[in-house]
């Protein structure tokens, strides 16, 4: 009798491949959409970055000493424009910075250089933190002022060596692989979840509620195949279809990576991703578990609904809940271990944990157990629905 389940599965799979529109929507669309959106987003972020680099900030100065101008010239050359102004213009220039017509204003005290040996002369700087270019100008000017400070100190102590107190060496100790993982772990679980659900939803509604609507289900029920086996055949084929559909989404992400890695924080190569075979295995296991939850839920709803429209209406709220769950994992990570017992949510959390190299096997077990319980319950209810006389009602 297991043969019957396989026969039904084969037919269900064939159905999707034969229906070109459905096949396109389920297998090609997700990957294509992701690839296009990511590439576009990546391109935009890239362009933004380049703009800031090429931009030459305009810094107005009042009473700037020659030494400052020299230091700025040495550090940035034509990368910065320093304009000298009169003390009388000070208010007008502040207004310019505020409005973004200039990026920064530096007001040095009168006779600045001479005073450095006696008192503590001051430099007032004005910038606008809401403007990227202004922030960038301030960053550059801080560097110039530091170098000016060092020059004065060196003079005072007679030579550069005397001024040097310590050296700082900066190194980002974050593993480049982990950095990449963090970037991918932010978006991928959400996208996987949404596309997995969307794929299962389209096919699932058609395969069960659609069959009721078209009235073809009675022919199936007139065969000696157990109704439970018909239900299982449909459910398992849907699980396979949604997994393949999900692979398409993953392919889309991989295809778009060369163009899109700036959205993920940038600066990593695919080869940096040091996932082990076991990580992939766990990821596939969790994805399959999630697929099973979705598929069993969608199948149950489609079995209870009388037609595709009604099924769509019942499934929509479930889709919303799943979307919110998956989006929340982008920003939050719950502390409590029991969160992993929440069906679907636990799977999403686990996938994320694996991607960011922070996976706890115990949590994995929690989520798999809850998946089994949940989809088992859904499947049981679905089989019951198939044995009910209502399964033939489509009006």
């Amino acid at each position: 009798m297991r043969n019957n389940i396989i026969t039904i599965m084969k037919k269900e799979l064939k159905r999707v491949f034969l229906d070109r529109k459905l096949a396109f929507a389920v297998f090609i669309m997700p990957g294509l959409t992701i690839a296009v959106i990511y590439s576009l987003m990546g391109g935009m972020v890239d362009k933004l970055g380049k703009d800031t680099v090429q931009y030459v900030p305009v810094v107005h100065t009042i009473n700037a000493p020659d030494e400052f101008l020299q230091a700025a010239q040495e550090m940035y050359g034509p990368g910065i424009t320093v304009v000298m102004g009169m003390p009388a213009e000070s208010e007008e220039l502040k207004a310019k910075v505020m409005e973004g017509d200039a990026d920064m204003l530096l007001v040095f005290e009168d006779d600045f250089m001479n005073r450095t040996s006696g008192g503590l002369p001051s430099v007032d700087s004005y910038m606008n933190s809401t403007r990227d270019y202004s922030v960038r100008a301030e960053y550059m000017i801080t560097g110039v002022l530091d170098s000016l400070k060092m020059g004065i100190l060196a003079q005072r102590l007679g030579g550069m060596e005397g001024a040097a107190v310590f050296e700082t060496n900066k190194k980002d100790l974050a593993d480049s692989g982990e950095k990449a993982g963090k970037a991918i772990g932010m978006l991928l679980p959400m996208l996987l979840t949404i596309f997995l659900f969307a794929g299962a939803m389209q096919v699932g509604m058609d395969t069960i509620a659609g069959e009721k609507e078209r009235g073809t289900i009675a022919t199936m029920l007139m065969t000696p195949v157990k109704r439970g086996h018909i239900a299982m055949g449909k459910m398992l084929s849907l699980a396979i279809i949604s997994l393949v559909s999900c692979l398409s989404s993953i392919a889309g992400i991989i295809i778009s990576l060369p163009f899109s890695n700036t959205i993920f924080g940038g600066g990593f190569e695919l080869s940096d991703l040091a996932y082990k075979a076991s990580d992939f295995a766990l990821m596939i296991l969790q994805t399959a578990a999630m697929a099973l939850s979705f598929v069993s839920m969608i199948c149950l709803i489609s079995s209870l609904a009388r037609n595709i429209k009604e099924a769509g209406g019942f499934i929509a709220p479930a889709y919303m809940v799943v979307m919110v769950m998956s989006m929340s994992t982008m920003f939050m990570r719950p502390e409590a271990g029991w969160s992993y017992f929440i069906p679907v949510y636990g799977n999403i959390l686990c996938i994320k944990d694996i991607l960011i190299f922070d996976y706890a096997p115990l949590h994995g077990i929690y989520s798999l157990l809850s998946t089994l319980a949940f989809s088992g319950l859904m499947a049981w209810l679905m089989v019951r629905a198939f044995y009910s006389e209502r399964i033939m009602k489509s009006a």
């Binding site: 043969n3 019957n4 026969t7 039904i8 037919k11 064939k14 159905r15 034969l18 229906d19 069959e211 078209r214 009235g215 073809t216 009675a218 022919t219 199936m220 029920l221 007139m222 065969t223 000696p224 195949v225 157990k226 006389e389 033939m392």
Partner: protein, 260 residues
Amino acid sequence: MVEVKNISKTFRLGKKQMALDGAKSKFRTAVRNVSFNAFPGEIYGLLGPNGAGKTTTLRCISTLIKPDEGEIIVEGINAGTDSREVRKRLCLLTNDLKTDPNFTADYLFRFFGRLHGMAQSDISARREILFDAFGIKEFANVKTSDMSSGMKQKLSIAISLVHDPRVVIFDEPTNGLDIITARSVTDYLKELRDNGRTVIISTHIMTVAEKLCDRLGLIMEGRIAAEGTPGGILEMTGAKDLDDAFFDIYRKSKEVPDEE
């Protein structure tokens, strides 16, 4: 052989349906204590007006639904306890059988053959016979979505007969068919009878009942009001044709007060 013993079936109506029919009760008894036997080599007809309970009775025999009371024995097998064995020996045809879109006639035929547990060679042999009989050969490789409704109807009949069932049940065999297709269907039913199959049909059309059926059960409001050969029923009522006989019995059945 089909033995129907005192079956009753009550449906619980949905709110929508109650409003639509103006029903007073949540429950509707579609079949009340119906009994009859249909033998191999005969066409037994359930003749009755709309809503009499014909489809419900046939669905009970076909194991699609279960009667609340009573028992149905098909080829010696109890339909209530061994429904799968019963389905191996019978088929239910209706005039609105639907076929899956996007599949070819050939694929669907083989698919259902496999679900009936048939070997490939047996399926092929049945395919030869049935595709020939219904003229499906020309469009065996056409997708059902590209077929005309007549083609689809023929295909769905062939599919239902794939396992060469001993008992053939046909709900309203000629409904919605043109004269030529209807004739080919009734001819085929006669052929099945002549080959020793048990054939049960339902109809509300007098001429179909008269010309096609060997025996009739007149069903009204869920009850068998009279049973016999078309000639026997005429004799019993003394009417000149089946139409009049039917109304005669209908009127009499109204005079019997409801026991519920």
